[in-house]
Symmetry: C2
Subunit: 176 residues, 2 copies
């Protein structure tokens, strides 16, 4: 059964290792199980399809976010709850997407960089510190935190189930 | 009111001036009026959002079609009738999209190149003949016709309303 509802874009932004994937995957699973039309756009995966030509300069990152934003816009205007999980480090790029999507919910997945580095799930911080990865957000590249996110999940202070519940609640308020 | 239905990608391929835009716009309008969830992806417009980096070499055209195909796949798997209007001159690129989308309907919008050139709605053939546009499909670049399209509209032999009706009928068979 599918639930009829308006579309929405939920944009998870935060450092590598902050918990974006964990959170967005769990939210996706719960909403699917309830019968919502929901699509997860993972930044790394979308890059493979839409942005093979792009690197990690500010210009390329912004272009990548612009493309993901376009896809999220198309999906959410067609009634899909679209979850985007992407570091999206630059505020202006995120705000440009927000400006185009009427129903937009920014979730700042926030943990101190020291905590993200301690987790280092993918071993990327270690490689960044060793200089093997250039332009690594939080180490050698900037991250500009949202100034007015609809939701902030301090994943170092709250449990994963707590974060999931808060995101789901915020979504349900929007889509009814 | 929105009609519940499975998603579908309707892919209009054909020369510049063959009637893809006319046809896809009219089909879009009729389906919207009936309450279907429908999204039109126009090749030229999508280029502005997803493929500003790409030109008109075979490689770039194929990459452009690959990106449009990815977006069409996401939309149609989420229950949207997605109309793609793009010259998409290379068979292998179209077939690669078809292979990824379960509910796929290829519409070959076909008029002889002489007829398309006679229409020359956008004045592009004139510019191509004058050498102002390089790699122009049908003039200086190949067009590979579909070998097994679900539908062929000979826009030089049938009227626009006839073509529209045949496309709509084919869509309704698929989405019920």
């Amino acid at each position: 059964m599918t639930v009829a509802h308006p579309g929405l874009t939920v944009w998870f932004t935060g450092l590598s290792g902050s918990g974006k994937s964990t959170l967005s995957l769990a939210v996706h699973e719960q909403l699917c199980a309830t019968g919502y039309r929901v699509q997860l756009l993972d930044g790394d995966e979308v890059r493979l399809f839409l942005s093979r030509d792009l690197g990690f300069s500010k210009q390329d990152r912004d272009e990548n976010i612009r493309r993901i934003g376009y896809v999220a816009e198309l999906l959410s205007k067609n009634g899909v709850i679209t979850l985007v999980s992407a570091i999206s480090p630059y505020r202006s790029a995120r705000d440009a997407v927000r400006a185009r999507i009427p129903n937009f919910l920014e979730v700042y997945v926030n943990a101190p960089v020291e905590e993200c580095e301690r987790r280092d799930v993918k071993g990327l911080y270690k490689r960044a510190r060793a200089g093997e990865i250039k332009s690594f957000t939080g180490v050698s590249d900037p991250y500009e935190p949202p100034q007015g996110p609809e939701l902030e999940c301090r994943t170092d202070l709250e449990t994963v189930p707590q974060s999931i519940e808060r995101v789901i609640d915020a979504i349900l308020v929007r889509v009814g």
